[in-house]
């Protein structure tokens, strides 16, 4: 025991200082961009720092906070055992695991499972939700802060194909989109206790998109809820609707905020710009040529990139939507590309990591690495590494291994 404690203390001490944490779906700003440096551009077998088996399936992205990686998983024939796991960044050692019994319905499409939504963190706790609409808060050492069975509390809140909306936490409120064909709502849960701060009825229509926090200098935070009806901005602490756009939107890929503009998967891509003081957003441009698949759009270096399910990566000028180039990647895609050092990290469903340089006149694949595992979930970036969670493993590519 003494040895393990000493080892833990030593590893904590050598954890990279000031490294950018990855705190939610698509990173700290929900836009897929990381400020991390040193992530390998040339992916090769030696990039594999560690790979560890997970006790269950999942699509959720790992969160990385300091020297800890957090990931959720679902196991059991009915995907009714819910796991939250914490590993050490440096060597992938399991630090703790908590398991829960699902209290809501666990039936999903075979491609997804209980651990489809990505957790969120405010740096103090991990908030994890599962397809069963069970929601749990744990501190970073695995102490249970609260548990909510939203599928038990609201018994028609479920989707027989599964739920996938990730969480966001903002202004002390955990926002959970539980939007489906029947008992459809989004709830703001008190981050300290999990009780409802607000609960907003939402369109009775299955929805797999995730909420996005909209931050604007000098303006109060807003949470953007995308649905088949459009985009609704709500006050995080009250759930009061600040404004909405009702021209429809996709129910699979989620909008991204870039340079104060909303890039919405709607009629292809629709870009709008919210005004000050909750003024209704004005339309900037729209392009039917930029139609994302399951993956959400990403904006890097003034370029907007969309990826369809068949692996066609399309690049457009983010200012006006004018198409610049297309690149065919290998494989089918569900994962949203993430960005570090100006490079796009795209992971196909058969586990092929493809690093794309989008900055030139034509997009180029700089390197690729076949993990030979099924990957549906979006990867994460932190500690100079790409973290990929496959259907069965958590993989760290890059960074420094424990020697």
């Amino acid at each position: 025991m003494k040895l393990s404690l000493l080892l833990t203390a030593a590893l904590t001490a050598i954890a990279p200082l000031g490294a950018a944490d990855w705190t939610q779906f698509r990173g700290p700003n929900g836009d897929g961009l990381s400020s991390e440096t040193g992530v390998p551009v040339r992916m090769e077998p030696s990039s594999l720092t560690w790979s560890i088996a997970l006790p269950g399936r999942g699509l959720s992205s790992p969160l990385i906070l300091g020297d800890k990686v957090f990931v959720t998983a679902g196991s059991g024939a009915r995907q009714d055992r819910l796991h939250v796991l914490c590993f050490r960044v440096t060597d992938g050692a399991l630090l703790w695991e908590r398991q829960f019994w699902a209290t809501g319905r666990t039936m999903t499409h075979e491609k997804i499972g209980a651990a489809t939504p990505t957790p969120a963190s405010d740096g103090k706790a991990i908030y994890a939700i599962f397809s069963s609409n069970d929601c749990v808060a744990l501190d970073l050492d695995g102490r249970l802060l609260w548990f909510r069975g939203l599928g038990r509390d609201y018994p028609n809140a479920s989707n027989s194909l599964g739920m996938s909306s990730s969480l966001v936490v903002v202004d002390g409120v955990v926002v959970a989109m539980v939007e489906n064909d029947s008992e459809s709502f989004t709830a703001g849960l008190d981050a300290r206790t999990g009780v409802n701060r607000w609960k907003l009825d939402r369109p009775k229509k299955a929805n797999w998109t995730s909420p996005v926090v909209f931050k604007s200098p000098g303006q109060p935070n807003r949470v953007l809820l995308q649905s088949a009806l459009g985009v609704t901005a709500v006050e995080p602490t009250t759930g009061k609707i600040a404004w909405d756009i009702t021209e429809g939107a996709s129910t699979v890929p989620s909008l991204v905020v870039s340079q104060g503009r909303l890039v919405i998967p709607a009629n292809g891509i629709t870009v709008v710009e919210p005004g000050a003081g909750d003024a209704k957003p004005k339309s900037i441009w729209r392009s039917a040529q930029l139609r994302p698949g399951t993956a959400s759009p990403v904006v890097v270096g003034g370029r907007l990139l969309t990826l369809n399910d068949g692996g066609i990566l399309t690049c457009a000028d983010a200012q006006d939507g004018k198409r610049m180039w297309q690149l065919r990647l290998k494989g089918s895609f569900s994962a949203t590309p993430v960005v570090a050092g100006g490079h796009l990290y795209c992971v196909s469903e058969d586990g092929r990591v493809q690093v794309v340089d989008p900055s030139k006149a034509e997009g180029t694949v700089v390197s690729e690495l076949a993990l030979e595992q099924t990957v549906i979930g979006t990867p994460s970036i932190a500690a100079g590494s790409l973290f990929v969670r496959s259907d069965s493993r958590l993989v760290r590519l890059g960074g420094t291994a424990l020697r």
Partner: protein
């Protein structure tokens, strides 16, 4: 089979003796914390108080773990998760500190089916961590366990044994799979066993195994254009008169008998009435029970639906064409001694995709473990 029964009986006795002899009350502070965990309820009720209590329970010593598992008795589904997380945290800390859990105490608890299935399951998982081979050796005792997780794992072990026999001794494999089929209560496991038996030349009567309600009276179509028919109260919901002629969507409609021949018990309105869109149909069946008892109505359906038992609405759901599976919805009900009346409303929307054609449901009545209860008449 006889051996299993005798092992079960012996283990129950052992468990009862040990529990009576060895029960040690938790210290007052710990017991009080457990009570606060067990007081959590819907919508986060009790969460704030439970947070501090959880920290206390998570400090429990290794010797207190069996009593904490016992304390899961009577906990609701929210509280079970609070308890589980606290117990696992305590075990992890105590194990790291070198404290030993008592395998014997865990086994006693595991075997005593008076305790909550979830507490017993957690005891089994702790035994697995302490001594995986011992856990495997215990599994055959749980082929008839009231807890679905233990029972499933015991059946899976039996299936693995049958799979190992397939090449060497086909007759033995069939016998072992048949045993597994008799114990299994999980639909996917039953289907898997049936397929393996079929491969061995032994056909399973799936309809009988699942125990579907097969004989119904149907009526329809009623209007569900714009999905308004889900909420609309048509005459069968107010008064069930099988001789009545009612105003349907396109003219008068009457009840008619329908018996499903599907091995999956599908009551198919498209086949029985017509392939229609924006419609609602009703199915009713008599279900006879020898005694008043609790049961579950288990439904699979990808249309909108509502179910009434003896005139009382049990549940309803207006989700269309996402997916369906056996036992998709499990609803606790109370059956009367004698005749019970089941009424199902099944609504079809106006989607036109190929995958939105089905207008059907499957229904069975079971006990809590999934053992079919068949109408006695």
């Amino acid at each position: 089979m006889a051996r299993v029964y005798s092992v079960l009986a012996a283990s129950w006795l052992l468990g009862a003796v040990a529990i009576d002899a060895g029960a040690a009350a938790l210290p007052r502070k710990l017991a009080s914390s457990v009570e606060r965990l067990k007081a959590v309820g819907p919508e986060g009720q009790g969460n704030a108080a439970a947070q501090a209590a959880w920290n206390e329970v998570a400090k429990a010593k290794a010797s207190q773990i069996p009593e904490l598992l016992v304390a899961m008795d009577g906990a609701n589904d929210y509280a079970l998760n609070w308890m589980r997380a606290a117990i696992e945290t305590a075990v992890q800390r105590e194990s790291a500190a070198g404290a030993k859990l008592s395998l014997k105490s865990l086994e006693v608890l595991l075997r005593d089916t008076r305790h909550h299935a979830r507490g017993r399951r957690l005891a089994f998982e702790l035994i697995q961590k302490l001594d995986a081979s011992r856990a495997q050796a215990l599994l055959p005792e749980f082929l008839q366990d009231p807890g679905s997780e233990l029972r499933r794992e015991a059946v899976a072990q039996l299936m693995a044994r049958a799979a190992g026999q397939t090449n060497a001794a086909k007759a033995s494999a069939v016998t072992t799979y048949r045993q597994a089929l008799g114990f299994s209560r999980e639909a996917d496991q039953i289907e898997d066993i049936a397929k393996r038996l079929q491969d061995l030349g032994d056909k399973v009567d799936l309809a009988k195994t699942f125990g579907w309600v097969a004989k119904w009276q149907l009526i329809g179509p009623f209007d569900n254009a714009g999905e308004v028919g889900f909420a609309k109260v048509y005459p069968p919901e107010e008064r069930l008169d099988l001789k009545a002629e009612l105003a349907g969507k396109s003219g008068p409609v009457k009840w008619f008998p329908y018996e499903t021949r599907s091995e999956y018990g599908l009551v198919d309105f498209n086949q029985a009435i017509s392939s229609l869109k924006g419609v609602a149909g009703y199915a009713t069946a008599e279900f006879w029970s020898d005694s008043a008892r609790s049961a579950q109505v288990r439904l699979g359906c990808k249309n909108g639906w509502k179910i009434w038992v003896n005139g009382t609405l049990v549940f309803g759901r207006d989700e269309y064409h996402r997916s369906a599976e056996i036992d998709q919805y499990r609803m606790p009900v109370s059956l009367k001694a004698g005749k019970n009346i089941l009424l199902v409303k099944c609504t079809q929307n106006e989607q036109t995709q190929d995958w939105a054609k089905e207008w059907e449901f499957q229904l069975r009545v079971t006990d809590e473990q999934g053992t079919p209860i068949v109408s006695t008449r």
